[in-house]
């Protein structure tokens, strides 16, 4: 019986064969390349139905309205910096707040409620920049993680 028939010398090959290892790593890499861009990130929001607007499920007094007006928060172009400009003020239940105080105020107002009543009605001016509004949604969500956001009109 012969081990080597091609005449390449007879010593045992002692290096690890890395080809299957490289193959497996490559396949794993590609699997992650597939999965990562498919994951979407964002915020669940709602719009009250026309009928629901006539007869709100919650009592009027318990509705928490966050108002973002274009006069108090003049952001009409995407903010260059992360976060919101310093001159942006919002009003939560008629209280005027800077955006830095918003998360804590939302937590204070809605945090104590049962989970199904944590609804924040967001009345944002139509002229505002979309990115700025979404950053305010992010701030509200960072106050109470499972708060439900409903977009309402300002009038």
């Amino acid at each position: 019986m012969q081990f080597n028939t091609d005449g390449q010398g007879s010593e045992l090959q002692s290096e690890i064969n890395i080809t299957p290892l490289v193959d497996v790593v490559l396949v794993l890499l590609i699997i992650f390349m597939v999965v990562v861009p498919l994951l979407l990130k964002g915020y669940d929001v709602g719009i009250p139905k026309a009928s629901a607007e006539m007869a709100p499920a919650e009592a009027d007094a318990s509705q928490v309205v966050l108002k973002i007006g274009s006069d108090t928060c003049p952001v009409f172009a995407p903010p260059a910096e992360p976060g919101l400009p310093a001159n942006c003020r919002v009003s939560l239940d008629e209280r005027v707040l800077s955006t830095g105080e918003l998360a804590a105020s939302v937590a204070e107002t809605l945090g104590g409620r049962p989970a199904d009543q944590r609804v924040l009605f967001l009345a944002a001016d139509e002229d505002l920049n979309y990115e700025a509004v979404l950053r305010i949604v992010d701030l509200a969500k960072s106050g109470v993680d499972d708060v439900r956001i409903e977009f309402v009109t300002t009038d």
């Binding site: 299957p20 979407l40 929001v45 920049n129 950053r135």
Partner: protein, 140 residues
């Protein structure tokens, strides 16, 4: 080599590299397929901590591009045909969910109008898609 010996020559084809190559090709096509259906490129808004929305399979992807044009999945639709197009996109999906990718430069009113149209087409709630700003700016 004589008959009856244990160390006979291995005549079978080694299929391992073949399987590897085929697997890699399969995965390459799996990568390409979803990218063909996501519609136009938009400049997504960046926020501090967007929540996970799962993956985009099984979602109806509504895109609002820079000029405010509406797209459902990979084709553009006229605003007056939007509701119709959404219902057609549902197909036989049991629990369709709509996610909205809007350009960061749009007015909030444009996005809101699309959301109202989605609501009127019979969907409750939408997901607004954002990019995580933390990925590029680092911690504060």
């Amino acid at each position: 080599m004589r008959l009856g010996e244990t160390g006979r020559m291995n005549a079978a084809i080694n299929v391992t590299p073949l399987v590897d190559v085929v697997l890699v090709l399969l995965i390459v096509f799996m990568v390409m397929a979803p990218q063909m259906r996501t519609g136009p490129e938009v400049d997504l808004p960046e926020t501090a901590k967007p929540r996970d929305q799962g993956d985009e399979r099984g979602r109806i992807l509504v895109t609002l591009d820079e000029s405010g044009k509406l797209w459902i999945d990979d084709h553009q639709v006229a605003p007056e045909k939007f509701g119709e197009g959404l219902r057609a996109a549902v197909g036989d999906q049991a629990d369709p969910r709509v996610v909205v990718r809007s350009d960061a430069r749009l007015r909030f009113g444009d996005v809101r109008r699309a959301m109202v149209a989605i609501e009127e087409a019979g969907f409750s709630g939408v997901g607004l898609i954002a990019d995580s700003a933390g990925a590029t700016t680092g911690g504060e």
